[in-house]
Symmetry: C2
Subunit: 80 residues, 2 copies
């Protein structure tokens, strides 16, 4: 069994109100020095067998159909 | 300027209904071979200056007070 991570982030040109809200809150809480925050999703997908090319190809298909919205989000896949 | 990633995942002993819903849906969509899915959050925090020890310490404090709930979530910090 292998664990594959899928990181999903909004595309840079897409507004991220959640991240902006966090970044705006930080100075009020006394934390300086943070310029920007972007919030995304992280999935840990446990696959049967080894994380070979076929398994990663399958996770890629799952990511683009179910985990991410390719119109507004980018995703990256890596073996944990 | 440096970019620091904060990965936030539910602790292993905490039930993850979102991840379970995805894992259950996959076979119905024709995707076999996935044993489990866990869903978490990923934050990209852009900090002023270099990602030195002081900056990472600051991000750690922000993560445990604002980005994660340490009662039910674990987090990991790494420089991008």
């Amino acid at each position: 069994m292998a664990r594959v991570v899928v990181d999903v982030m909004l595309k840079p040109e897409i507004l991220d109100p959640q991240g902006q809200a966090i970044a705006r809150k930080l100075p009020q809480m006394g934390y300086e020095g943070v310029v920007a925050v972007r919030q995304g999703k992280r999935f840990e997908v446990e696959v049967e067998g080894p994380a070979d090319e076929a398994a990663l190809e399958r996770v890629h298909t799952i990511a683009e159909t179910l985990l991410a919205n390719p119109v507004i989000e980018n995703f990256e896949i890596r073996v944990l």
